[in-house]
């Protein structure tokens, strides 16, 4: 099918609804770790209910992915994909099999269909780091929503001063995208990695991800920091960066709450005054810090 034919076909399709999953086909499936899989999704080319592809995603935004007959979960994009014509023609999602839905999604093989709603939420605003140092701190699966930030910054490397990526993982076997680190380093990203528990073959750092901050020699007044990982990891990391002097408004975290509708209708993801699906998941630490410490939230 030519590009013109594609555009014509797309224009004839119904506009996607925020409430109805669009069909996407799994083009490739890569097992990143023992329980984590990256799926590449493309527009289906077969006889399936026809919707135009969902709008393009920005780094940090998420989709509601459907495993048909099982359920739906919110998953951030983990790659830049292909956004031709402002549509998500190719999407990447990295999923960890932790429950019934994610296990079902992780099991979908190339050629299989899954549902996609989105894009939802506020992304990382990578452009806000232009002319500054971009500091990216990831813990565990939290590297997945930050990978598009790395890729977007590298695609426009000269806009940013230093790009510093600090990664923490449980064990060396749990490290995501380890095969990409060397390429990122060659392309101008300062990558530091630490694990909580080393094995005999590990030659890298061992310790909490916050231990990587001081050696990174950051310029606090001129840095923008993006953090993603478990809540506690984000809090201690953001506090450590703030203690260095990075203003909390220049520190952003990606919150994870119980997203259901994705479109600010149902209220399941309410966090104080925020609906995380709409006002997040990426939120400035100046807003998030107090909310993250409220036990009832």
């Amino acid at each position: 099918m030519t590009g013109q034919e594609t555009a014509t076909a797309t224009s004839a399709l119904a506009e996607p609804s925020a409430a109805v999953p669009c069909f996407y086909r799994v083009a490739s499936r890569q097992e990143d770790t023992g329980d984590t899989v990256t799926l590449e999704l493309t527009e289906p080319d077969g006889p399936v209910p026809a919707f135009a592809p969902v709008p393009a995603f920005a780094p940090g935004q998420f989709a509601m992915l459907t495993a048909f007959g099982v359920g739906e979960v919110p998953i951030s994009v983990s790659g830049l994909g292909d956004s031709g014509g402002g549509r998500a023609r190719r999407l990447q999602h990295t999923l960890r099999a932790v429950g019934a839905v994610t296990r079902a999604l992780c099991a979908v093989q190339p050629g299989g269909l899954i549902g996609v709603r989105g894009p939802f939420g506020v992304g990382w605003d990578v452009a806000s780091a232009a002319g500054r140092d971009l500091v990216i701190v990831a813990g565990g699966i939290g590297l997945a929503p930050l990978r598009p930030v790395v890729l977007a910054a590298l695609a426009d490397r000269s806009r940013y001063r230093r790009i510093v990526l600090l990664v923490g993982a449980r064990t060396p076997a749990d490290l995501l995208y380890g095969g990409e680190f060397d390429r990122w380093r060659r392309d101008g990203v300062e990558v530091a990695v630490t694990v909580d528990q080393a094995d005999s073959g590990w030659n890298g750092e061992v310790g909490l991800v916050t231990a990587l901050i001081k050696p990174a020699g950051l310029a606090p007044g001129d840095s923008v920091a993006f953090i993603c990982g478990p809540d506690i990891m984000m809090r201690v990391t953001a506090d450590a960066l703030a203690a260095l002097g990075i203003p909390p408004s220049q520190i952003r975290v990606s919150l994870e709450r119980n997203m259901r509708c994705g479109a600010a209708w149902c209220g399941h993801c309410q966090l104080g005054p925020l609906l995380v699906c709409r006002d997040g998941p990426v939120v400035g630490y100046d807003r998030a810090a107090a909310l993250m410490r409220v036990r009832e939230l």
Binding site: R96, G139, G140, T194, D196, W202, G204, V206, T210, P230
Partner: protein
């Protein structure tokens, strides 16, 4: 050598809270050292008679676990201080330490530093104030690692089963 050490200490933020006189006194107990990759600095249970400011390179703290060999529990890099067992009796190392790469450091003679602390309470208080934040930071980091934050529920259950088996 002492002048060189004093200059190095003055350049390092860790010692910024000391007065010039206190830094000069501490420098008298310090000397520049180099460790080659794999060189062991101390073993668990050994006498803690030194501490180090790591200037570049990296050190691994380890612990020998029967059946599993030396397990690295934490790594320390440039700009950090290694060793606080010299501060309190019984002055024995709780872990081992080995250089992972070529490492330059300033090594301090702990008994002499302790004598200075005893003889000059102001110096001793200043020294304690230097080390307390390190101890606190590492305690907090250890507590957080105990939470096994990156583990899935399944991994936590698996760990609990393993612990129950042992």
């Amino acid at each position: 050598m002492t002048d060189t050490v004093a200059a190095r200490l003055a350049a390092h933020s860790f010692f910024a809270a000391l007065t010039d006189d206190q830094r000069a006194a501490l420098a008298e107990d310090g000397a520049a050292v180099t460790f080659t990759p794999g060189q062991r600095l101390f073993d668990e249970g050994g006498i803690a008679d030194c501490f180090w400011l790591i200037e570049d390179g990296g050190i691994a703290l380890d612990l020998r676990v029967p059946g599993r060999g030396d397990q690295i529990i934490e790594t320390l890099g440039a700009g950090t201080v290694l060793g606080w067992s010299w501060l309190h009796p019984p002055y024995r190392w709780h872990f081992g330490a080995v250089a992972r790469v070529a490492t330059n450091a300033i090594e301090f003679e702990a008994p002499s530093v302790r004598r200075r602390c005893d003889a000059d309470p102001a110096f001793g208080y200043a020294a304690l104030r230097l080390f307390t934040p390190i101890i606190t930071e590492r305690l907090q980091a250890t507590r957080l690692r105990l939470l096994d934050l990156y583990a899935t529920a399944a991994q936590v259950r698996q760990r609990e089963v393993q612990q129950a088996d042992t």
